[in-house]
C-alpha cells in the first residue's frame, strides 16, 4: 500500500475511519467536509507507518485548528481549561488513534511510529497538498475542520519508533 491510486481506492474507508474516531473521541457527530482549516496556527500530529514487507513508509498527518484542539483536550481530559501540554497530549493521541486504525485498515505487517504533536504548525496559505502525491480526507465536527493527510514516502525525520526486543537483540550484537 504505497501509491496514491491505492490510497484513493481506500478513500471512503479512510473517511469513515476519521468520522468514527471524531464521533467517539468528542461524543459529537462528525460529517465529511470540503471546508478548509481555519486561519492561524494549526495543531498537528505526525506519524509514519513502515511497511516492513515492502520497506516503504506512509506519512500520516492529522491537522486541526486551535479551537478544535482545545475542544479535543477538554473532552478527552475532562478539563475546562486545558494547558498547552494537555493540547499536545490530546492531539498526539488523536494522531495515534487515527494512525493505528489506518495501519489496521491498509497493512498486514507494518510498524507504527509514536506520534509527534506540534501546536504551532502552519502549512502556509492556499492549498499545500499536492493531490498527485498526497491523499487528504477531512471532517467537520462542532463546526470545525479536521484533516488527515496521507503521504507515501514522507520523510520520517524526528519520529520515534517504539522499541522492540528485536532491536535490542540487534544492538547487543558485536
Amino acid at each position: 500500500m504505497s501509491s496514491i491510486d491505492e490510497l484513493e481506492d481506500a478513500r471512503q474507508d479512510l473517511e469513515s475511519l476519521l468520522l468514527d474516531v471524531l464521533n467517539s473521541t468528542l461524543g459529537e457527530e462528525a460529517f465529511t467536509t470540503d471546508e478548509s482549516l481555519p486561519a492561524g496556527p494549526l495543531a498537528t500530529s505526525r506519524l509514519s507507518i513502515h511497511d516492513e514487507a515492502q520497506d516503504t513508509y506512509l506519512g500520516i498527518e492529522i491537522r486541526v485548528g486551535a479551537v478544535l484542539a482545545r475542544l479535543l483536550a477538554s473532552k478527552m481530559m475532562a478539563a475546562g481549561d486545558p494547558s498547552p501540554d494537555d493540547l499536545l497530549d490530546a492531539v498526539g493521541e488523536l494522531g495515534n488513534i487515527v494512525g493505528g486504525n489506518v495501519k489496521t485498515l491498509l497493512y498486514h505487517t507494518a510498524r507504527l511510529s509514536l506520534p509527534m504533536a506540534d501546536l504551532n504548525s502552519r502549512t502556509g496559505p492556499g492549498d499545500p497538498d499536492d493531490p498527485s502525491t498526497t491523499l487528504r480526507v477531512a471532517a467537520s465536527v462542532f463546526g470545525q475542520t479536521a484533516q488527515v493527510v496521507l503521504t507515501p514516502g514522507a520523510p520520517v525525520d524526528g519520529l520515534y519508533w517504539p522499541p522492540s526486543q528485536e532491536d535490542e537483540a540487534l544492538e547487543k550484537q558485536p
Binding site: D20, V21, N23, S24, T25, A73, M76, M77, A78, D86, D89, A90, G92, E93, N96, I97, V98, G99, G100, N101, K103, T104, Y107, H108, T109, L112, L114, Y160, P162, P163, S164, Q165
Partner: protein, 121 residues
C-alpha cells in the same frame, strides 16, 4: 481491586479510567504508568489485580511488558487497549496470554464485554 493503566498519553489514561467507571467498574484503585518499563516496575511493586496496557509505547512496548511479566513469573490478568487491532496483533496478544485486545476508539460496552470476567462491579 487495583488496576494498572499503562499508556504514554495522559489523556488516554484518563479516558480508560473514566470508561471503566462508565462500564460500571467503579471504586477501584487506578495506578498509572507512562510506558512499559515503568509499568513493569509498578506491577512488581504494587501487584495490581488487572493491567490495561497500550501496545505502542516508548521505552518498552506493551507486548514486551507482558512477556517480561511472564518471564518474571508474574501472572496478572492483562488486556491491551490500543489503536491497532490487526489479526496479527490479536494472535500475538492471545499467544502471550492476554485476556484480549480493545481497540481505540472504544466504548464502555466493549470494556464490559472483555473485562467482566475479571473485574468486579
Amino acid at each position: 481491586m487495583k488496576i494498572l493503566v499503562a499508556d504514554d498519553s495522559r489523556a488516554m489514561r484518563m479516558i480508560v479510567a473514566r470508561t471503566l467507571r462508565q462500564a460500571g467498574f467503579s471504586g477501584h484503585e487506578i495506578i498509572e504508568a507512562e510506558n512499559g518499563a515503568e509499568a513493569l516496575e509498578l506491577a512488581r511493586e504494587e501487584e495490581p489485580d488487572l493491567i490495561l496496557s497500550d501496545w505502542n509505547m516508548p521505552e518498552m512496548t506493551g507486548i514486551d511488558f507482558l512477556r517480561s511479566l511472564h518471564r518474571s513469573g508474574i501472572d496478572i490478568p492483562f488486556c491491551f487497549v490500543t489503536s491497532e487491532g490487526s489479526e496479527e496483533m490479536r494472535e500475538m496478544a492471545e499467544e502471550s496470554g492476554a485476556l484480549g485486545l480493545i481497540t481505540k476508539p472504544f466504548t464502555a460496552e466493549r470494556f464490559t464485554e472483555v473485562l467482566s470476567t475479571v473485574v468486579s462491579l
